[in-house]
């Protein structure tokens, strides 16, 4: 068995085991219920913790195939997408939805491989403005506005 495959077979059961143990530790600090005969607020977390520990053993025995994590360009695209989405949600309130969305789309499209200047210059702005107008004005979904100079978009 290749080392990557072996790692792939062992890591999920170990993570499941660690999660189960962690849940049991946290559940130990949950206050007991006040009603008589109530199994209490810690009941469900305890059941899940024990189940996860049992399932980790089952997973070790039951070695099913898995895809494994991506490598190379695929991995870079996924990690960068997560980073860009994190930055997107961190900027959505400070700079507003239209500006944050346009910047996110610009970076994301470039990441995916779009290199045509005309597309990168127009599509993010059009999509961002279009979705903002649709949700904010047509559907009354409150999205944070972008202030450019004295103009509130």
């Amino acid at each position: 068995m290749r080392s990557a495959e072996r790692r792939g077979s062992v890591v999920p059961p170990l993570l499941t085991l660690a999660l189960g143990v962690g849940v049991l530790i946290v559940a130990a600090d949950i206050r007991p219920g006040m009603l008589p005969n109530d199994p209490g607020p810690a009941f469900l977390p305890r059941v899940v913790g024990v189940a996860l520990i049992g399932l980790s053993l089952w997973l070790m025995w039951d070695r099913e195939p898995h895809e494994g994590l991506p490598r190379g360009a695929g991995l870079i695209r996924v990690v960068m997408t997560i980073v860009l989405t994190t930055l997107y949600l961190m900027t959505i309130e400070p700079i507003g939805f239209p500006a944050a969305t346009a910047l996110f789309l610009l970076c994301q499209m470039w990441l995916i491989g779009i290199r045509r200047f005309a597309v990168l210059a127009t599509m993010p702005l059009l999509i961002s403005a279009g979705t903002y107008a649709l949700f904010r004005f047509a559907l009354d979904v409150p999205l944070p506005a972008t202030r450019i100079g004295g103009l509130l978009l």
Binding site: H66, V78, T81, M90, L139
Partner: protein, 498 residues
């Protein structure tokens, strides 16, 4: 009867009626794109419903559900990639038909069978759901606990692949559901003193992340400039004597699909495969199945549409989602402040019966829209992925932000998206996670109430109905383990020499 009258009266609102074709149109466009399943589409369009009244929003989502379910057959036939999981069985004969230059015929058959299966399924839903709801009015906490356990065992074990992985996914869902104030004592748990976490994890950001964002990450990882091969479509006619050839198969498959769909957690894909197998078994020419047999396409499509309607029976009547799409509908109702379950039929008959009538209308709309735009839908699968998936992420962010205009919910979506992506890579099914997150609190609350009401005794587990349902749960688990072992044995068997 008064419920039906109230439902019809509710449909006098032009906005509700407008949502029927709009939902179907959106659903067809969504279902035709591989990767954008009905669940993803419904999750993405959920924020559209926030500003609408409950029936209008529900009708929009049901239209998307019905439209996407049919349109999943388009890429299944043309490129052997089911647009939605429920169209998986359609590839078995649809793709061979396309290879023979009969793609047009396969697409028309899939449309007509979808509509027939959907309408029959809606009629059966309208008949069975009120009966079950009436019966369920007498249910107490033990019965609800048992039903929730049945849903959990079926969901975790029937998703295909590893049963253990299904249960791990369900356990994570239960854990997520446990975050926040507990349902009986109101004490915070698993929140680590964080005020946002104490409020619990909202369902919508969770499902938008698990389905929408996780799928976007998966597609972005795989993104390569692919071109679909152009295939000769052929005629869209279903050939001579089509009604006589296809009607019995369609009727039988719809019934099987509906019955399968009523079991919590059994999706249209399983209904489709079961009906396909039965159509093949009852056929005088079983050898033609898999080689481009129109009855195979009709069976798979009729069954998966009827199965979707079947999945709405426990959703409306018990408040327990029949499948993941039903879980999204349940989430939409809960956000609108409506508690699904047996009481819903008396509390909001306009909503329940109005949605039954709207679903029937949606299938007639689907027939018209499907036939009129069949050449256009074929082109939808060629939308450039480079524009589509970034836009899906934007919709995920809007959808989760709009729930409470709160960035914390968007963070939940991001975390759920990464979790869903990792689970998918490890071949852990994600559907059990979502359904466990919904059903888990029902199971916990009813278990604890039963224990309190029966002075800490387990005697309530022996009540006939409760014990019967729990036995069913055990049986479903045993059945799944045996089936899994059989599949493993078949996979490990060495190939026979020719």
């Amino acid at each position: 009867m008064t419920g039906w009258i109230e439902g019809l009266l509710a449909l006098q609102d032009w906005l509700v009626i407008l949502m029927v074709p709009l939902g179907v149109l959106l659903g067809v466009a969504i279902g035709a794109i591989p990767g954008l399943s009905a669940t993803v589409g419904m999750a993405l369009f959920l924020p559209f419903t926030f500003s609408l009244d409950p029936l209008t929003g529900l009708v929009l989502l049901l239209g998307i559900y019905n439209g996407a379910c049919y349109a999943g057959a388009i890429p299944a036939v043309l490129v052997r990639t089911p647009g939605t999981p429920s169209s998986a069985a359609t590839t078995l004969d649809g793709y061979p038909m396309a290879q023979q230059g009969r793609a047009g015929e396969a697409l028309t058959i899939s449309l007509v069978a979808s509509v027939a299966g959907g309408i029959l399924g809606t009629l059966l839903l309208a008949f069975f759901a009120p009966l079950l709801a009436d019966y369920a009015l007498s249910f107490g906490t033990p019965e609800y606990f048992a039903i929730a356990m049945l849903a959990l065992t079926i969901i975790a074990s029937i998703g295909g692949g590893s049963i253990a992985k299904g249960f791990v996914s369900a356990a994570i869902g239960l854990l997520i559901a446990a975050i926040g104030f507990d349902p009986i004592a109101g004490f915070p748990r698993l929140s680590f003193g964080d005020a946002q976490l104490s409020g619990g994890i909202q369902l919508i950001p969770l499902l938008v992340g698990i389905f929408g964002l996780a799928e976007a990450l998966t597609q972005i990882e795989r993104m390569i400039a692919s071109r679909h091969e152009r295939r000769r479509i052929g005629t869209f006619s279903m050939g001579r004597n089509w009604l006589r050839r296809l009607a019995p198969t369609t009727a039988g498959a719809s019934t099987i699909g509906f019955a399968t769909g009523m079991l919590p957690g059994v999706g249209g894909d399983i209904g489709g495969y079961m009906a396909y197998n039965e159509a093949k078994r009852f056929s005088k020419t079983p050898e033609t199945f898999g080689e481009g047999e129109p009855r195979g396409v009709a069976a798979a499509e009729a069954a998966n549409n009827a199965s979707n309607m079947g999945s709405l029976v426990p959703t409306f009547a018990l408040g327990i989602p029949g499948n993941t799409q039903a879980a999204v509908l349940l989430g939409a109702l809960l956000i609108a402040g409506i508690q699904p379950g047996p009481g819903l039929f008396n509390a909001a008959p306009d909503l329940v019966y109005g949605s039954f009538v709207a679903m029937t209308l949606a299938y007639f709309c689907l027939l018209v829209i499907g036939l009129a735009g069949i050449r256009l839908w074929i082109r939808v699968i060629q939308i450039p992925a480079a524009y589509l998936w970034p836009l899906v992420i934007v919709f995920c962010v809007i959808g989760s932000y709009a729930v409470r205009t709160n960035v914390f919910d968007v963070m939940v979506t991001l975390a759920a998206g990464v979790l869903g992506y990792l689970l998918t890579k490890g071949r852990y099914p994600v559907a059990p996670l979502l359904i466990a997150a919904i059903v888990g609190p029902i199971a916990e609350e009813n278990y604890r109430r039963s224990m309190i009401l029966h002075d800490g005794s387990f005697v309530w587990l022996l009540q006939p109905l409760t014990a019967g349902i729990l036995l069913l749960a055990v049986a479903s688990l045993v059945f799944a383990v045996l089936r899994h072992r059989k599949a493993l044995a078949a996979a490990n068997e060495p190939p026979r020499p020719n």
